[in-house]
């Protein structure tokens, strides 16, 4: 799960009119920004399927990290494992994943609110 591709997918579907190809992260933009609405909807339609998959894989990843850190913490408490470093790194990773999810979610909510407030 790449941070860049997630950001690109999120931005491309929440702000119609911009199209960022999310096939290869870091690939140079070869197509001009489309001007007409039909092109934008088509692009947004193609991008929104991958956006859902992206979000789903993103959340699954975060959930897995949280579950792993909980399991390792419980193992350390019951004495099943004695590896403090592994537990601490997994907990920290889970914290970061959680905070990142929250930050991305807040950005998306802000973007959606701003778009819905636009005068048409």
């Amino acid at each position: 799960m790449d941070i860049n591709s997630a950001y690109n997918s999120a931005m491309s579907s929440s702000i119609p009119g911009t199209f960022v190809p999310d096939i290869a992260p870091g690939a140079p933009r070869t197509e001009p920004i489309p001007g007409d609405a039909g092109d934008a909807t088509g692009a947004a339609g193609a991008a929104s399927t991958s956006f859902r998959d992206t979000v789903k894989s993103f959340l699954t990843d975060t959930n897995d990290k949280l579950a792993t850190s909980d399991q390792l913490s419980t193992d350390l408490a019951t004495g099943k494992t004695n590896d403090l470093n592994k537990v601490v790194t997994s907990v920290e990773e889970a914290n970061l994943a959680m905070q990142f999810t929250l930050a991305v979610r807040n950005k998306l909510m802000d973007a959606y609110t701003e778009v819905s407030r636009m005068q048409m």
């Binding site: 949280l66 909980d70 913490s73 419980t74 350390l76 408490a77 019951t78 004495g79 099943k80 403090l84 537990v87 907990v91 889970a94 914290n95 959680m98 905070q99 990142f100 929250l102 930050a103 979610r105 807040n106």
Partner: protein, 144 residues
């Protein structure tokens, strides 16, 4: 934690909270052992709270004489056994070799146990704090 209130925020928080309770019980026993280091005929005691914690986490051990319910699909319900309460008790250790005055307290081991227990308590407290921080983040929707 389940014993303090009826509300439970998840099994990990319960387990970590119980580990703190168990660790402080062990602390009490170690302090008692050290205080009685020179008492003739004294046997050291300890609390095996980690085993009690493991039992509370994993559920009750299966009785080999009963036929367990088997499920061949994840959607089928299993046997709902009640949770094992966390209930560690101090036990007196009669196994360790005794000195001439009948006491089997080894002050060095007790001090090392004290240090180890203290480190364990700090670790569990820190992990518990992380859990609470995560909950607070989810509730307030603000990354800390």
């Amino acid at each position: 934690m389940a014993e303090i209130s009826g509300l439970s925020f998840g099994s990990t928080i319960d387990t970590l909270g119980n580990s703190l309770v168990g660790a402080s019980m062990q602390n009490e026993q170690i302090a008692n052992n050290i205080a009685n280091a020179n008492t003739p005929g004294f046997h050291r005691s300890s609390v095996s709270f980690k085993d009690a914690l493991a039992a509370a986490v994993d559920g009750p051990a299966t009785d080999p004489d009963t036929l367990p319910m088997t499920a061949d699909d994840d959607r089928q319900f299993g046997m709902m056994t009640g949770p094992v309460p966390f209930d560690p008790k101090p036990v007196t250790d009669d196994q360790m070799k005794m000195r001439a005055d009948g006491s089997n307290v080894d002050v060095d081991r007790e001090m090392a146990e004290l240090s180890s227990n203290s480190g364990y308590q700090q670790t569990m407290a820190q992990l518990l704090q992380t859990q609470y921080t995560r909950l607070r983040e989810a509730i307030t929707e603000q990354p800390k």
